[in-house]
């Protein structure tokens, strides 16, 4: 098949029967108030869905071995009956969703209902609001550009460079799309304050008040601040910057094609970011709706068992694991129930009479409205932080676990609500990965790059730090370092001319 065109895979149409089912399910979804982009369903076989899944749902991506690796796993898993992909949908407008040809009708219906849930989420959740809805075209475009570079510079050269970029792929700032650029006034104000002999002096019309309003130690303090600010502004970046990729794009000595490749990797990373920021919610929301639509509307008597079977399969919690589908759907149901019965607010929080709490029902009926609000404004972090309750933890028997080096195995650590929540949040905020910032692009005053790991209790893995620094140094082409902590002491890992060094500061 010729490559490069995004439309060629749209060869398979829905059968009339499936088209009828789609219209039916779509009607139910709209009836419940779901609001989605147009969804185009594609019929695919196992082979196709495995390749699509390996490519992140997109039919055309740039050539890279890691897609082949994912494909290898998916197709092996499928061949040996270990796993199969049930549904897949991509966040574009219109949205594309894939239906497995071999699935039974009841499966197809469930998948469709699930997909409408996802697409409603894509369209309405704030965290998706800045994503590129024409990503299908952009991905194909990226592929064309990278292929061109490969033709010109050789596949190995370009792919090796991509490998390096991928090592840094996570170093973006998912909140950046939502940051308003600083206004000019704010900037100007910062500048004037830093200059002139009366810098930092508060204005007053009454001379006699001046020594009270601007006492000497206050002026001294202001002066120090001003100098600090001036020193900072000479620094690049002025503040620690989480979007390391953007910093590299601006400051690293890149060839034109390298610049473009890095910006492609960054674009795609930003595109996928909201999906991991909202994994629990997104899956929970879609599962909530497929279950609602199926059980209340679409399910025929003869299909109940099959549906229950598949539904139970996706929501099953293997001991020791958290299934985002399950946590998500149950939290949404919990929220709906609490807002229906008025189990929120000051009165509820302050009530410690267990009998009354158990009986509590204000018959407010605000549940549906509330969950729609939650799906609009939350991401996983705020979702868990705000709505995970003590009762919920207890009902679903959540615990924290950790590795015990003494016994050499994983052990249950705690069932305390706060600990569970903390651990859960840690795992989803920043994907449970270290927070890395770039702090200085002129480290040692020699054009070296300094990163900073914001230590939150866990140390960096030294081997992978070395490997990642190696990749980074090949992009920066000068020595690179990262400042972290070990046992409460600051430690600097550096890579200078291919030599890795670590030292305590």
């Amino acid at each position: 098949m010729a490559s490069g065109s995004g439309t060629e895979f749209t060869s398979s149409d829905l059968t009339p029967e499936l088209a009828r089912l789609r219209d039916e399910i779509q009607g139910y979804a709209k009836g419940y108030g779901l609001d989605f982009f147009e969804v185009i369903f594609e019929m695919v076989d196992a082979e196709q869905i495995n390749s699509l899944a390996a490519l992140g749902g997109f039919p055309v991506r740039y050539p890279h071995w890691r897609f082949g690796m994912d494909y290898d796993q998916l197709s092996k898993g499928y061949t040996w009956g270990l796993q199969k992909i049930y549904e897949m949908v991509i966040n574009t407008d219109p949205s594309y969703a894939y239906l497995m040809k071999a699935n039974s009708l009841v499966d197809q219906k469930t998948v469709m209902a699930h997909v409408y849930g996802h697409v409603d989420f894509f369209k309405n959740n704030t965290w998706f609001s800045k994503t590129n809805r024409k990503m299908l075209d952009s991905m194909a475009n990226h592929a064309v550009r990278i292929r061109e570079y490969m033709d010109r510079h050789g596949q190995d050269t370009v792919e090796n460079f991509i490998d390096k970029c991928l090592a840094l792929e996570d170093l973006i700032d998912p909140f950046l799309p939502f940051v308003q650029p600083k206004s000019r006034d704010e900037k100007a104000e910062g500048e004037t304050r830093a200059q002139g002999p009366g810098a930092g002096r508060l204005k007053t019309d009454r001379q006699y008040m001046d020594k009270y309003i601007n006492p000497p130690d206050f002026l001294e303090e202001q002066k120090r601040k001003a100098e600090e600010a001036a020193r900072k502004s000479r620094r690049n970046p002025a503040e620690p910057m989480k979007d390391v990729l953007a910093f590299l794009l601006e400051n690293a000595p890149l060839e034109d094609w390298e610049y473009d490749v890095l910006s492609i990797v960054r674009d795609e990373a930003y595109y996928f970011a909201p999906q991991w920021q909202t994994k629990i919610m997104n899956e929970g929301w879609a599962s909530y709706w497929h279950s609602k639509i199926m059980t209340e509307k679409a399910l025929k008597d003869s299909e109940v068992i099959d549906f229950a079977d598949a539904h139970a399969g996706t929501l099953a919690m293997a001991p020791g694991r958290i299934n985002p589908y399950k946590i998500g759907i149950e939290l949404f149901r919990d929220i709906e129930d609490r807002w229906n019965r008025g189990r929120f607010g000051k009165e509820w929080d302050e009530c410690d009479d267990m009998v009354e709490r158990a009986r509590w029902d204000r018959k407010l009926g605000l549940g549906r409205q509330k969950i729609f609000e939650v799906r609009r404004v939350c991401n996983d972090v705020t979702f868990i932080d705000e709505y995970l309750t003590d009762e919920f933890c207890e009902r679903y028997k959540l615990y924290t676990y950790g590795f015990n080096r003494r016994t050499n195995q994983y052990e249950i650590q705690d069932r305390d609500f706060r600990k569970v929540k903390e651990k859960l949040l840690f795992g989803i905020a920043n994907r449970g990965q270290p927070l890395i910032y770039v702090t200085d692009g002129n480290f040692h005053n020699k054009g070296e790059l300094l990163l900073w790991h914001r230590h939150q209790g866990l140390d960096l893995d030294v081997r992978w730090t070395r490997e990642t620094l190696t990749a980074l140094s090949e992009i920066w082409r000068r020595p690179v370092s990262i400042e972290s902590e070990v046992d409460g002491q600051k430690k600097l890992y550096s890579l200078v001319d291919g030599e890795f060094a670590e030292k305590f500061l």
Binding site: M1, M69, Y86
Partner: protein
Amino acid sequence: MLYNIKRDHARFRNIVKGKIKENLKKYVTHGEMIGRKGKEQVTIPVPQIEIPRFRFGDKDAGGVGQGEGNPGDPLGQGDPQEGQGEAGNQGGDHSLEVDLTLQELAEILGEQLELPKIEPRGHKTLKSKTEKYTSISHQGPNSLRHFKRTFRETLRRQISSGIYNPEKPVIVPIRSDMRYRSWKSDVRHENNAVIIYMMDVSGSMGDEQKEIVRTEAFWIDTWLRSQYKGIETRYIIHDATAREVDEDTFFKTRESGGTLISSAYKLCQKIIETDYPPSEWNIYPFHFSDGDNWSGEDTKLCMDLLEKQLLPECNVFCYGQVESRYGSGQFYKDLKEYFGAEHESVILSKVENKEGILQSIKDFLGKGK
């Protein structure tokens, strides 16, 4: 679309095989294998290339789980880490997990390692007799009475002797009408095989080394079981003396003290002599050690035992040397020197760490013997 992924796939496989992009070779990992614990649930060995990233130490992070248990309870073999890789890249994909049978597992192993089917020796000299209740007899206990056949016999007798009245169909069986289920002997010619595991449990073999032996033994077992019906396993542990033990003890014992490998070989020889006549059995002795032997004298004795006694009786003799901090690894060198690297029925393999297990299994079983 498909063309695209096939190309990426081919590229990935070439990297794993080390044909291209040598610089990535160090990032190749072989998926974790989980042994036969609890149910027969396992993960398949799938090679992966890890792209380096800043990350926390592997086991430091911990996480949140769900289920019964009290603080301090171990979580067992199942790795509680969440699914690996970039699951978040897709809008949403479901995965289903299914149990595998050991037979399927062996197939997967065979395919992954490109293991040849084993050519058994001693062409089906062994008769195995199974008894199946597929036959009918005139005598037997009441519990085995065959109602339908008895009824039919009675009916037949009554009709032929004119007693039967269709108007009033009464069937009264007499003694000679009675039929009983009976067995038939089913004789099959089969290959039988015995695996004799020997392990050095002297002080220098640590837990990690034993874990390697255990995993390797599991896969060898699985593969050979798929090739032979009715396989038997025997276990020998040795330090300065050898004794036969059951499976559990085999993997758990830790002794201290010296090592006389010959003691194990002698015991192995004795077991074969008493229980497994080589004309009827395919015999697979596997010996795992860290390569330390007490003396050169004993090593010499070992070579002698191997060459004169064991090798003529076995399909292959496999020696796996598990690297340990304390072991010198001398025995491997001695064997190699004595038998040469390409001896047809002595297979030597070094297992450096867990990642080396697959290669070692391939060494052992790759010859199809």
